[in-house]
């Protein structure tokens, strides 16, 4: 089965370790992530100014590209792209006046009124495949992996676009369970990583990361998993500074959820691009016996 797929710029450069394991994993699960033939930056962040419509043009244009392909669903991997696209779609669906302004500005494109649903890959795994079916495809269960699911903001806020309960999300926990890992819930899992604030306040990066790692560590987590390249950047850099600043912190490896998915499906480390991760996650995975590749992975039909 083919799914219209929007990667986002970062997934083509710094976060190939988010994209490539996802594409390989979905193929192994019988789904083709079919990249839009034309796409542009999603806008990077949803513009909150009521009258700043020019910054809605970029996400809407991508939704139009999906519509042009005859698709009614667009799969995203990057949590930030997901957030921007889904919120822009909501605007186009619900605000007739702004919709008309944007459509009339983009007179070279077909008119758009929110027909394409922006979804995150985690939703595809939960709703289209299902945790039970996913767990049956696992070749290398991630036993003994105590992983803290970190959501950050953009999958869950604002409430209108959340992929799960805003207060008590379960989707990453269930995902980890399906892969055979031991999820470690921790209260700071939806605390903001600092987002783009670190651009104007680079010194604050460690202080944003501190409570998140403190909380995960004190609940017994050995690794953190996340869905967003910006969270990855901030937490990775923040952790590095924390380690440099005080000896109390030891390195906790950070993984994209798609890397664990690929490992569990037996696709091996080569599709995971661990060289792009912060720190040295491979030695950790080796300790956990999770780097051996399972041979003979057959894509299922579909």
């Amino acid at each position: 089965m083919s799914l219209a797929y929007y990667p986002g710029c970062t997934l083509k450069t710094k976060a190939r370790n988010l994209e490539e394991p996802a594409v390989a994993s979905m193929e192994a699960l019988g789904f083709k992530l079919d990249e839009l033939p034309r796409w542009n930056c999603c806008g990077a962040v949803y513009s909150l100014a009521e009258d700043d419509l020019i910054h809605q043009v970029a996400p809407v244009r991508n939704l139009i590209r999906a519509k042009e392909q005859g698709k009614d669903e667009l799969v995203t991997l990057c949590a930030f792209c997901f957030n921007t696209l889904k919120r822009a779609n909501l605007l186009m669906k619900e605000d007739a006046e702004k919709r008309n302004t944007i459509n009339s500005f983009m007179n070279e494109e077909v008119d758009y009124s929110g027909e394409v649903k922006a979804v995150h890959l985690l939703e595809v795994l939960r709703d289209d495949i299902g945790w039970e079916a996913l767990s049956q495809k696992v070749k290398l269960p991630l036993r003994e992996l105590k992983a803290a699911p970190y959501y950050g903001c953009t999958l869950l806020r604002p409430r209108e676009i959340a992929i799960d309960s805003v207060e008590d999300p379960a989707i990453l926990r269930e995902f980890l369970k399906a892969l055979g890992a031991s999820p470690v819930d921790f209260p700071e899992s939806t605390r903001c990583c600092g987002s783009y604030q670190v651009v104007s306040s680079p010194d604050a990066i460690a202080e944003y990361a501190r409570p998140i790692f403190n909380s995960a560590l004190s609940h017994g987590a050995e690794a953190m998993i996340l869905t967003c390249p910006l969270c990855d950047y901030n937490l990775g850099r923040g952790q590095k500074e924390l380690i440099e600043k005080q000896s109390g912190f030891r390195e906790m490896p950070i993984f994209y959820f798609t890397q664990l998915l690929a490992l569990a499906l037996g696709l091996g480390p080569q599709v995971c691009h661990f060289e792009l991760n912060h720190g040295s996650p491979e030695s950790f995975l080796k300790e956990k016996n999770l780097l051996s590749q399972v041979e003979s992975v057959q894509p299922i039909g579909g």
């Binding site: 990667p7 710029c9 083509k12 450069t13 034309r38 796409w39 542009n40 930056c41 806008g43 990077a44 020019i54 910054h55 043009v57 970029a58 244009r61 500005f105 983009m106 070279e108």
Partner: protein, 272 residues
Amino acid sequence: MSAKARKKKSTATAVKHRTKKPAATAVKEEKQTAAKLIPIYIMGKRYEVPEGLTIMKAMEYAGYILIRGCGCRGGTCGACGTFYRKPGDYKLQVALACQKTVEPDMYIAQIPFFPANRAAYDFAKLTTAPEEVFKLYPELFRCVACNSCTKACPQGIEVMDAISALKQGNIAEAARLSFDCIQCGLCTSRCFGELAQYHMFQLARRIYGARIIPRAEHLAEMVKAVNEGRYDRFLDELKQAKEDELKKLYQEREVEPMTAGEDWKPKDTTYL
């Protein structure tokens, strides 16, 4: 005889010589010489110029002497990017002044030059990493995908898609999409984010050409063979040939047909 009448007569004579042409064509040519004057507006001032002229020729007809904003006159150099509008249509139109013929009531502004900074770089040190472009042109990330650049391109390039390709780190795609760019700068003049698209594309094509496109290995082999003297004796034969013999060789030479496939070979394979 007035200049106009003289011109008419000489054209009529020319038509007469082309006896094989159908009469309809002759009539058409006759009409063209009696060019109707049409109104156009150059920088807001009204002029009447002969129909059928290019914008550039019409400007010259109106009395402009073009020192800048005029180069090859063949649609290749990018010096004569031009904006125009027509009454009753809000849409801004673009053209190359040397290519587009005038239309009644066009309001024309040629943009011979538009300020755009080209980053300085030592090409020998550049790699194919996407970050090379990001560092030299950080304003790349100011693009809001408004697509005004694409609408302003007289070459029909998907300018915004090429900018998107650069943001996605796909230098090869940016080079491919921007291949027809003649660097007229109209995209840059319309950019919401103040990007200098055409300089970025030139960088992309340079990196692509020098570092990404696969080398033609057979060319290197051929150059090596030439340098090793494999073809010297054939040249020596030609050098010693008499004039008549050379003429005969030339006239009887076998030419590769236009439609020849990859596997075409001459009948005489002595020189292969």
